[in-house]
Amino acid sequence: MATVTAATAHRRRARAGSRGPAGLAPTALLLVGALYCLFPVAWVLIAATKSPGELFSTSTLSFGTGFFDNVGELFAYRDGVFWLWAGNTLLYAGGGALLSTAVSAVSGYALAKYRFPGRNVIFNLLIGGILVPAVVLAIPQYLLFSKIGLADSHWAVLLPQILHPYSIYLARIYAAAAIPDSLLEAGRIDGAGEWHLLRRVAMPLMVPGMVTIFLFQFVAIWNNFLLPFIMLGDDGKFPLTVGLYTLLAAGANQPTLYNLILTGAFLSIVPLIALFLTMQRYWKTDLSSGAVK
């Protein structure tokens, strides 16, 4: 086994080496891609440092001098409503992603490892669900939530994001690949109950997949605008996206607070970056830490 891997790696290296400069093309392409994705982030960072006077008058890529003034002003805006919105966002994204991951992992595991009547119907429905963009559902969801009296509550933003077909689909694929049937069989022979198997055998194996789902959902909810925009009327429940938007579309008869919006946008992506950097290591964990020999 070891020799085979070594041989493959060797052959691969040899091939890459023989191709020479041709190998630069993919690297260059990836660099262009990275630049394409990172440039807007860099722009936000630079723009957030500019004072209102510098924003539209200095060169796009030169740093300004007003970053700390901007931050101070943003935190003082409407008695610190930024923190309230940030807290709401954290609640929606953190709570929503946790619940969604739990639901997805359990359903994915059940769909992958148990045979029961209706399994395929459920799975096909989920596939269909992936095809329906969440945006399309926002207004019907709002009308439904209004009917049951939950509109304009925290639940109105949390509940619709917990059930996420794509995450369940991911969890199913992941569970099918990461949890060997033989391991479950061995557990059953040793007398472990199904609940025990789920907690002690299946879930630990699914951690990398669950981290992926958590991150996907966290980012998706963190950035979500339309659902909270439609669902919430009370500005004390707004997440950052909708809150910052009220600064942008504040009516024409008073200054638009561009510097505060940019600083707010920048500050609101900092936690996302931090989250990715810290969660990254879970992706690197050996996928078969529960190994079967």
Binding site: P52, G53, I139, L143, G233, G251, A252, N253, P255, T256
Partner: protein
Amino acid sequence: MRANRLGAALAVVLTAALAGCGSGEPAAESTGAARSPAAAPQGPVKLTYWAWAPNMDKIAAVWNKDHPDIQVTVSKQAGGDDAAAKYLTAAKAGNPPDLVQAEYQHLPSFIAADAVADVKAETDAIKGEFTEGLWKLVTLGTDAVYGIPQDSGPMMLFYRKDLFDKHGLKVPATWQEYGEAARQLRKKDPKAYLGTFSSKDPGAFTGLAQQAGAQWWSIDGESWKVAIADEPTKKVADYWGGLVKEGVIDDMPFFTPEWNKALNDGKLLTWPSAVWAPGVLSSNAPKGKGKWAVAPLPQWNAGESFSGFWGGSSTAVSAKTPNKAAATQFATWLNTDPAAIELLVKEAAIYPAATKAQSALGAAPDYFANQPDFWQQAATVSAGARGFTFGPNVGVTYNAFKDGFDKALQSGTPFSSAIQSMQDATVADMRKAGFQLAS
């Protein structure tokens, strides 16, 4: 009565617009309308108010202190077209706020959707506080009253006084002179433009058309008349189209980074805009502080003094609120009580709709500190501003404006063809929604 029948006819549009969204919410309301709030002794009446004007919560706090029996909670929303869509959706779903800040051009769509209450009985006494032109914007020329005017946006000409002096330009009194000045400036500074025509801001164009005497919509008995492609509008469109084609007027949209930059760099010398422009200029062009001045809008015929409106909003009471009387009482206080208007001017930076308040404005905006008679100028212009009744589908018309003028700018086709496409799109949409149209 006519108004009620009209309202019923207008309601059709909602069914079309929101088809498929379950209906049949009970239309319970109106019975409690006549009751005074004091007659219901079950704790204070609680009202929610959606607004986007800044610091409205502080103003409501002043009211709440003096009126323990009517407590108003302000929820600050994002303004603009999205706010109108959000309110309509909330009204349809059965949980709108009790009060809403409604822009004049969106009010008819609220009325068509039966989302705002008729407050005629409660507002008879304050009718005289507003000019007839503004009052018409909340009645649509019917017997009903659907809101109380809050602010207004009469249009004026804002210009860079320092650069006008430098290039020896005369402040144009007519649009012909404006065109001449535009040509002169191009010769003196080929990098600068006198102004720009924005294909993204139908509101500005609407105001200019109003100045020229356009009447895009009108109500004739039971039916609507749409005349967007009327002579005054075509005249305005062709005028700007000619200047753009000649290359003496730029064609970049307002409120974009490049526009901000041009303002800051002194490459854009005028902006025909509304009275709220100082707020925009101070945030988008902070470098120009103290360098701008204001004059009446150029006229079509020398000696006239007409203007149009760009923006402005009213306070409307939701049709579904159980506390119509209390809500109207608050809206009335907010927009007519001298103390409240003073707060509106100071805290929310609005240009008040109430006539008396307009002439009582004191110090000029900070940005225009060099023009101490700013508000007097505004009041004079305001007196000559004429608006028109907005139709129930302004959104469609405005989108057609953007599409049509974008196309006209790109392909160089005459602006009047864009006007015709606005007319056609508006009429087609109203037909589809079931409105009766007079031909």
